[in-house]
């Protein structure tokens, strides 16, 4: 007898799902924000789109998402990435409205601009140089920004602390609730006739006679096209269909406070106030491999930075901290890959699932169904990592 009379190990038997349709025009592997937004957009280009997702405890990066639709720090030295990000940002308002109309789910998208706080004069000067490089790289598209000293900053956010030196502001930045966005995209996908299958972690993908056979614990699914958007699981699956996707998973930690009266009119790069009133803060970078446990010293650093930025937060209780794995390529930019060895197979990894959701839903479908690769992502293929 066991010490505490515990029932024997319970492993639920696989259940047969509805097998009415094991075939699709295209299968998207990965039900996080990236895969879901792509699948949602594909419903305009294909009639049978299937989205395979993992079970309840997958390494879900969407959960670790901070909820920023963010432009101002993206793409230093990589203007094509800044452009891609801005494409998505410009589409976000319509995307949010479309999701709301289709599903009734409010993504809480806001676009009031955003701040990056600088705690010293040297940080402030570095930031100004970065903003200036962005403006130069933007060319005709233009790039508006303002550098605010503490006094000007306080006109926007009066609660900024005395240790804050200043901030950069751009009007492009905003926020959206990542979980509501995920839910809206899932519901929208369902309404558009897509087939969502949870608990279908993909074990392997084989390619034969132009058909991809996707193995799950609930059996095999088939399609002539497959998109792998499985976050940190992407490289292993992509390799099976002839694509090398380099990846450095990074752990990000996030703290959430109790609800407080609204005071942050604008989000900062690592802190925002939700519509409900909670403050979300995060943005730590630790390189720890596949471990999603939290680390107390990192939590403490995030808290210290928050209290420095906004001393009024000192007595606000944190109700939750969590870690999720960020999906990062070696240069931090997304990867959009098409397999040469197995035509019809695609793979993507991307760190900014919320920011890029509108582009993913609107600009990739044609390419994935056979049209040319969009010019905007021409430089975002995995070829850039190949040493020639």
């Amino acid at each position: 007898m066991l010490f505490n009379g515990c029932a024997l190990a319970y492993s639920p038997p696989p259940r047969m799902t509805d097998i009415r349709d094991r075939q699709a025009d295209i299968i998207v592997v990965g039900g996080g924000l990236v895969g879901s937004a792509i699948a949602y957009g594909l419903t305009r280009h294909a009639s049978r789109v299937m989205l395979l997702d993992e079970g309840d405890r997958a390494f879900r990066a969407t959960r670790g998402n901070f909820g920023l639709v963010w432009v101002q720090s993206k793409g230093d030295g990589a203007p094509h990435y800044t452009h891609w990000t801005r494409n998505s940002q410009e589409r976000w308002a319509d995307f949010a409205a479309e999701l709301k109309a289709r599903t009734g789910v409010d993504t809480h998208h806001e676009n009031n601009g955003g701040l990056t706080l600088c705690l010293s004069e040297s940080e402030f000067l570095d930031r100004r140089s970065l903003m200036e490089r962005h403006r130069r790289d933007a060319g005709n598209r233009g790039f508006e920004y303002k550098m605010l000293r503490l006094q000007e900053l306080r006109e926007l956010v009066p609660e900024a602390g005395d240790s804050v030196y200043g901030a950069s502001f751009t009007p492009y930045d905003g926020t959206a609730n990542p979980l509501f966005t995920l839910r809206a995209v899932h519901q929208g996908f369902d309404k558009l006739g897509g087939v969502y299958r949870p608990d279908h972690a993909v074990a392997s993908i084989a390619h034969r006679d132009g058909i991809f056979r996707v193995e799950t614990r609930h059996g095999t699914y088939e399609a002539p096209r497959v998109v792998i958007a499985a976050g940190n699981m992407t490289p292993g699956l992509a390799r099976q269909v002839g694509m090398e996707i380099p990846l450095n998973p990074q752990r990000g930690e996030i703290l959430v406070t109790e609800r407080v009266a609204p005071f942050m009119r604008l989000p900062t790069q690592n802190m925002r106030q939700t519509v409900e009133g909670s403050i979300i803060m995060g943005d730590s970078k630790e390189d720890v491999g596949f471990d999603t446990s939290t680390d107390t010293s990192v939590i403490s650093d995030i808290a210290a930075r928050a209290v420095t930025a906004f001393p009024i937060l000192r007595d606000v209780p944190v109700v939750r901290a969590w870690a999720a794995l960020r999906v990062l390529s070696p240069d931090g930019l997304p990867i959009y890959a098409a397999s040469e060895e197995c035509p019809g197979a695609f793979a993507t990894i991307c760190h900014s699932g919320v920011t890029l959701a509108a582009a993913h839903a609107n600009e990739l479908g044609g390419w994935l169904m056979g049209a040319d690769r969009p010019e905007a992502i021409a430089k975002l293929g995995p070829e850039r990592f190949h040493v020639s």
Binding site: L2, F3, N4, G5, C6, A7, L8, A9, Y10, P12, G31, D53, G55, D56, R57, R60, T62, R63, L179, L182, R183, H186, Q187, D190, Y196, R197, P198, D199, L255, V256, T257, E258, S293, T294, D295, T296, S297, I299, S300, D301, A303, A304, A306, V307, L313, R314, D315, V316, P317, V318, V319, R320, A321, W322
Partner: protein, 463 residues
Amino acid sequence: MSANWDLAVIGAGPAGMSAAMAATRLGLKVGLLDEQPRPGGQIYRNPAQPTPEVLEALGEDYAHGMELIEKFRAADIDYRPGATVWDVMAGGEIAFLRDGRSAEVQARHVLLATGAIERPVPVPGWTLPGVMTVGAAQILLKTGGYVPDQPAVLVGGGPLLYLVAWQYLKAGAQIGAILETVPRSNLWSALPHASGMLSQGRLLAKGRRWLRDLRSARVRRIRGVTDVRIEGEGAAEAVTFQKGGRRQTIQTPLVLLHEGVIPNTHISLALGLEHGWNDIQQWWQPRLDDWGRADKPGFSVAGDGAGIWGAEAAEHLGLLAAHGAAMALGKDGLDQAGVAEARGALKSVAGARAFLDRLYRPARSQRVPAADDTIVCRCEEVTAGQVRQAARMGALGLTQAKAYTRCGMGPCQGRLCAPTVSALIAETRGLDDAEVPAYRPRPPFKPVTLGALAAPAFRAKAG
């Protein structure tokens, strides 16, 4: 503030106190962190100066608890009352909040003795003012000697329901009625285990006494009650229920609910220890070896947090877990006689438990709300209907249900709603309860202010 212990015990209930004392006797350097200002846990929740009336109402078991507490206080244990543990790391570091500051200790072995929590009873109207749990009512009685000044209606099942009714009687409070929701068919599944109960003479005598006293005080007991609802505008005014094919109503401003207790697995789940589903008690419990040790080295669990066994068993389990930890740390010189005695006592408690668990297994309708508009997550005000919709959309567990609905995202982190949400998901998707994965709590286990987290002393230690 920082310390290095051989064994850190979390929780000063009977299991934690007993384990800490036994481990000290085995030569370990022991520290104990407890959230309450005084030792005793929920069961022996200890008023600073209990009046004779309160002691009389609390009964002889409580007197036993007082003795245990005295011995505990005399033992050589680094006891830290008022310490709210908010994080436990895989390497045995424990972060806790005390006097508004966060601090950290390091232990070679960690024993969780965090006891039980009451099972949520999400019947329509359960969130109205004037509705509370029987356990909360008992805390008021124990700590402040508070009893209601109007007749309360007690609804549910399980020994605590009768105990509190009896304690109210002793304390001079009035009881409107006891509505018993336990399905009558439970008796048939319990009966084969009756011999185990009969061997527990003292326990049986206690129960008999409660029921006899309630009867002679003419307290109304209504058995086989179903479809309980609490009604009222802005506060509880009446409880209505189905009995014998018709609907009945009892006017009352105070309704006390209880459907038994479940292990408080918040920290053991957060640590990712392996858990198994207990289908009789209907909740998860950590999977442990004969010495209370979990699958991850360096962690043990004892007492009700490992499965509901009650206060008496908790002391024995605590002693065994102390031995388990001592062995894991390479100590010899075990107390063979003490271990044998504990194992013997546990065997007989197990017999009674098998009977009681089956007899008081709650009705499904008391665990899983039928009506879609019943709130299941109080922190975020998420209804049963919203959870059902999330489950239909593909939420296979609490993680995804949380993502869809925000349920379990408030200050309690799902501690209070997880049993209900899991059961709703299982029901909607046609799964067994055990097929819905347990929730995964995150630090901080209890809310901690940003200021405390950012404290420089703490950061230096943690870094």
